[in-house]
Structure formats: structure tokens, C-alpha cells
Subunit: 475 residues, 2 copies
Amino acid sequence: MSANGDFSAVATAASHSDPIAPVIFGVTLILVAALIGRHLARRTQQPSVLGELLMGLLLGNVLAWSGYELMLVLREGAAVMDMTKAALSGLDWPAAARLVLGEERAPALLELLKGPQGGEYLLVVHAVDVFSRYGVIFLLFHVGLETCVSDLRNVGADSIRVALIGVLAPFALGLLTSWLFSPNGGYAQHLFLGATLGATSIGITARVLQDLKKGQSGEARIILGAAVIDDILGLIMLAIVTSIIVTGTLQLSEIGRTIALATLFIAAALALGPYVIRFLICMLRHFDEMEAKIFISFVFAMTLAWAASLVGLAAIIGAFAAGVLVMDDQFKPWQCDTCRKYSIKELFAPIEAILVPIFFVLMGIQVKLEAFLDLQVILLALGLIVAAVAGKLVAGLGVRGRGLQRLVVGVGMLPRGEVGLVFASIGRSLGVISTEVFSAVVLMVIVTTFATPPLLRSLFRNGGQLQDSETPVAH
Amino acid sequence: MSANGDFSAVATAASHSDPIAPVIFGVTLILVAALIGRHLARRTQQPSVLGELLMGLLLGNVLAWSGYELMLVLREGAAVMDMTKAALSGLDWPAAARLVLGEERAPALLELLKGPQGGEYLLVVHAVDVFSRYGVIFLLFHVGLETCVSDLRNVGADSIRVALIGVLAPFALGLLTSWLFSPNGGYAQHLFLGATLGATSIGITARVLQDLKKGQSGEARIILGAAVIDDILGLIMLAIVTSIIVTGTLQLSEIGRTIALATLFIAAALALGPYVIRFLICMLRHFDEMEAKIFISFVFAMTLAWAASLVGLAAIIGAFAAGVLVMDDQFKPWQCDTCRKYSIKELFAPIEAILVPIFFVLMGIQVKLEAFLDLQVILLALGLIVAAVAGKLVAGLGVRGRGLQRLVVGVGMLPRGEVGLVFASIGRSLGVISTEVFSAVVLMVIVTTFATPPLLRSLFRNGGQLQDSETPVAH
């Protein structure tokens, strides 16, 4: 056997460099961008999500304009995912690209993917996309963990009215705005934008209220109660809208079927979930606490997420339900006084810390600033911002109190933050929200999230004394 | 605008179902298999890695034989990754498949990928592969965390001799075995199999010794000391072998260049690493402890892993170095007596708990039992097992003690466990280890890992009193 013969095989092996290296580079680049964005947000007392989103927006647009190929491919991430699925069924990338992107935009992306690093780009886009989608699932699992069913019983009538108006009014206004300013989008887009406007991200308001030492005020309690119901109403709205889009019909019987299916899914999860968890705990009693909590929570959340998408609901609905159902109290076999306890939330915090910022930065990267060169997109974005603000301010009218209190509650419900982004990203996955409309939605999310903290602070500063003396009266 | 017009766009959207659902299914299926394997291993007092590996082997072979398409594609995971990179440069899947798999095996895989679910399979394979590779990186980061530079100074001469012989003897025997039983594999394969046999996975021995309450015995100290050096020697060996393969030459100047480059990389990491960590800590001082530790450790580990693969080393070498360099003591700004502290190891435990078992199960899935229908593969596997056992038993001669002690140390070094698997998977990524040889290596890992605990127990049972009275003399 000659040395030459051996090394001809080796020469081809040389091209087989570790495929994880470019993925590590892409994912870490995005996480570093998230860190810088978060760092800057902390220093300027803005919410982290805003810093990460804006950093992604900056990174995506600047690097893409300067011709950085990886970023050009990442910006088309949603299209690349669709292409991958379409390309393989016929094993024909060019046809898939034309199908997904249209004749005009397909050649540029194909050119990049055809290059010597095309395969690496594809792997990076797939990995980043999968990480960010898992991030969203963990995010909603976390929201579910913080939602306690027994809390729902203590929610006041004010909160319920605020939540109901706060979902329905922005839905109607969002639908109208989409229909007026983007008539070509079709019913599917109008419905989805309506649902997106109904979302509320309460984390930002909660932090501002705590900073102002108003976390226990009447307004805070109304807002936090409304936010819990809002999450649930929003997910129901998402379920209905998604099913209308997937079944492709506006027939009431179909919508009814979806609602029935969603109800059945939630009912089955609620009824069987605790038994499944108990069975798993019994099975894994040889494991230590950390292992048992992580594995059971993970498998349960993922199974519900998968089951949800199986019955035509969004995966995040299953993850949310899993979060509601899994509780630290269920892990009794590991309860002891001396050993250190890990809560489920603590155990998932590191995973969330890595994956969730990837989602936010990726959403920022995929905003195309050049879309705003089109007057129609600007009008749509402005319309969405007005609709988003007006819809939630109207929700404040659900409070039986004086004007100021209503305004504080309305402003507190303004930020769409992560929940709005999640809805928009699902809409894009379903193919009903175009790149341009997506960019307009992200702008709306940025503006409502950015505006809330200063608005809340100035409202409390101007009316602080009035409000303080009133709180006991209102409750 | 007619309702029909709107819903034609919607009808195509219907095919755009959430791409994460099949990924969730695939990943969760693998994790459930890991859980069952781990559960069974615990009940039979076997190491977890063995349960996970065997469960993967069972799952992969049974489901693949029963024609389950997803499993058929997952088993060809390594080829699919290579194909992805090759396919895009020319956008031609059939040609890429023939290049990677050869004329004979390509059509079957192409048929699966061409089917209606081909795109989903590709996404699942990519996701599982990326997760398992990240799992390996976190595994080696963990090994690095547990390796303390100051410990190295306290390692005795016995340990150093055991480690040196324990890497070199199996290397020589492994190279010889590969050359004898698989002459067509070429130098690259011979070298890689040698390096793989040199690896030691000490976790299994450490656990058995603890169970036997021999964790503080003279043998235990020699084994644990040798294991630390073994990890480092093994990684150096991997670096040299990898560079020979990647550069495709056996010239001493090239090998010298690699050693110089690896030394430079490690030196640069050791010299600059602490400053980089200090800079990052200073930058992120607005973050809370958990965030700062997770982000800094993650970014540092990933940057070193990426840098390592940039200079031609395996990514895991960078991750290992990062683990050695990051220490909880560096996070002084967050040190306080009252607040609860999270150690870096605790923070990464949940991430490892999910990703590492995916690696083990995937390795099991990719073992092709039908490969053992070939007499040559059986002979190679048997040869590797004999070489692996003989090489490490010889290492026991490095101990200046009586026969029993030497035997205990030799047996304690036997298990290849996760480290052997990592080496084999890198060899396969580099294209130098074929599916058949990979299957033989995994069998060797299973046998050495399986045999060690009962052997150690019976050695201590038969010679326990003799050994107990000798320990003070030996030290």
C-alpha cells in the first residue's frame, strides 16, 4: 500500500472540516450582538428586548449592506427554511427559490448558496432558526410557569374588562389598518396583524412600576391581572387565526371546529397532564432532583408543543400549557430540608438566557430597513403604531376609576415586546406576513416598547400625589 | 378584492406548517430514548452513557429495519451533513449524494430525501447533529471545568507514568490492529484509531470506586491523577493526528508546525484568557450573577472552540481550554454572603443534561449492526477490544507497587466511555472513519465501559484486605 494511495482519500477528507465551526461562529456572533444590545439597554434604562432587537437591526442592515454574505443569507432565513422544505421534495433548489422568493429575488440568494461556502451558510441559517424557535418555546414555557391557575380566580372584574377590550379593540383596529394600508395582503394578513396588535408584554411595565415603587398600587394589580388573561386570550386568538389560515376558509363551522379542537387540547392537557407528570416522576425516581426536573419538564413541554402543532395550533400554545401544568410542588420525592433545591424556573434560566436573545436578535436582523423606502410600508407602520396605541388606551376604559388611573392602565398595556414578535414570526412562518409587513410590525413593537417606560414615569411623576391619595378609594 | 383571490395565497401558506414541529419530535424522541436507557442503566447499576448508547443502538437498528424513514435518514446523519455542504456548492443533491455515499448507497438516501417529507428530514438531521455537536463541546467544557491547573502540580510520578504509557501503548496497539485488520483504511484511519484507543473516561471508574468506598485509596488517587494528564495527552494526540489528516502529509515539518500551532494556541489562551474574562466581567457588571456567568462562560468557550478549529485543531480542544480557564473565583463583583450563588458547573448542568444524551443516543443510532455481518468488521472489533484492554493493562505497570495494585489501576483506566466516542465521531466527521469502522469502535467503547465496573468490584472483593493493608506502604 503506497503512501500516495492513502492520502488521496485523505485529500478529500481535508474538505470535511468540522461542520460545527461556522455554526458556532454564527450563533456566537448573534449572542455577542445580543450582549452588546442588552448592555447598552441596561445603561440607558431600556428593556433588554429593545436593545437586542435594535442591535440585531443594526447588525443585519449594516453587515448586509456591506455585502457580508452570511448576514445576507441570515436575513432571508425564513425563505431559506421554506426553500429547504420545497427544494428537497424535488431536489431542485433553483425551482424552490423561485417558488418562495419569486423570480426577482431568487437569483441573488441562489448565487450566495451556490458559492463555496453555500453549504455552511445553509447549516448556520438552519441552526440559528432552530435555536430561535426553541427560544420562543422556552419563552412561552416560562410565561406559563409564571401563570398560576389559582391566580386567575383572584383576578378582579377590572382586569377582565381591560384584558377583553385590550385584545378586541387592537384586533379590530389592526385588521382595519391592514385592510386600509395593505389591501393586497389578503384576509390572512389582516387577521394576523389584528391578533399581533392584541398581544401584551407585561414584563416591561412590571419592571418600570417596580422601579417607581408602584408595584403594589391599584393600577399595577389591574395591569398584572389583565396581562395574565391577555396571554390566554391572545393565544386563543392566535389559535383561531392560525386555523383559519391553515384550513384556508372563513366558514364558521371550520372556526368552530378549531375552537373545539383547541378546547379539547387544553382540556386534555389539563386533565391528563398532572397524571403524566406523576407517572414520569415515579419512573425517574432513581434520578437526582436536577436531572428529574429538567428531563420531565423538557419532555413534557416538548410533547405538548408538538401535540399542539399536530392539532393545528401553534407550538407555543402547548409550551405555555406545559408551563402552567408543571409545578415545583409535584416533585415531592426530592423534597428535603437540608439539600439545596433547584426550582424549574432556575433550571431553565440558563437555557433561556442563551436561546431567547438569539430569537430577538434574529428578528432584528430580518427587519429590512430598505422596506421603509416604500411609502406604503411607512404608512402601514404608522397606521399600526396608531392602532396599537389607540387600542390599548381604549382598554384603560375598562377600569372603573378616574381618568388618570385609566390612562396609566392603558399605557401600561402598550408594550408588545416579545409576545408581539412571537406572533409576527409565526405569521411569517405561515407565509401570511411578507418581509415588508414584518418590518412594519417590528417597528410597531419597537415604538410601543420604547415609549412605555418614559410615558409611565411621567404619568406617575405628574400625578403621583393625586394617585397615591386615590388608590385606597379605588380599592 | 375577492375572497377567492385572498385564499389562493393562503392555500400555499397551508403547506408552510411550523418547521419546528418535526425537529421537536425528532429531538424529543431521542431524548426519551436517552431517558429510558439511563433509567435502565441506573436500575442495573451500569453507567448512564452505556444505557444511552445501547438504547440508541436498539432504537436505530429496530426502527431502521422496520423502515421508519426518519431513522433511516438519521442513521446516515454524517453523510447528510457532508452532502449538504457538497450539494449546495453545485446545488446538485444527486451528485453530492454519489460523492459522499458512492454509487451504491446514494439512491436509497436520495429516494428518502426526495419524498414529501424530505425537507423535514433534512431539518431534523441538521438539528440533531448540531445539538449533539454542541453537546460534545459542553461535555469537554465540563471536563475542563473539573481540571484544575494547580492539581496538575500535585500529580504523582506514578500517575504521570500511567498516563504516558496509557496513551502510547494503546495508540501503538490500535494503529497495529487497524493496519492488520483493516489495511484498506489507510494511514489516516490507523492513526485515528490509535488516538481513540488512548482515550480514558474516568467518570465510570470514579463512581465505582466511590460506591466501593475506595475513593480515597492509593489506586484511586493514581487513577484520577493519570486521568487528568490522560485528557490533556489525548487532546494533544488528537491535535497531531487531526493535523496530519487535514494537511494530508506525514512530513515531520508539518507535524512540528501543528504541534507549534497547538502550543501557541494553548499558550495564547492561557496568557490572554484571564484578561479577556476580566474585560468581559467588567463590561457586564450591570448584569446579574446568573446572566454574567452564563454569557461570559458561553461566549468564551465558543470563541475558543471556534478559534481552535480555525487553527486546525478540534473544536473540543478550545472548549476544554475554556473550561480550564474559567473559574467561579473570577466573578468577584457578584460575591456576597447573603445572596445565593450559582456555580458555573451548576448553570451549565441543565444545558448539558439535554444536549449530551442526544450525542450518546445519536452515536448509538448510527451504529450499523448489519456491519457485523462482515467477518472483517468482527475481526477488527475484536482486535480493537483486545488492543484497548491490553494497552491500558500495560499502563498499570507504571505503578511502583504490587501486582494487585497495578491490575486495579490498569482496569480502572479501561473505560473509553464518552471520550472514545467523541474521538470516533470527530474521525467520522473528518471522513477517515467509515460507518463500518465506526460501528467497531462503538462496540469497543461499549465492551470496555461495560466490563470495568464488575472487574473492579471483583478485584477489590478478592484482594480487599491485602490492598487495604498495603495502601499506607505505597504512599
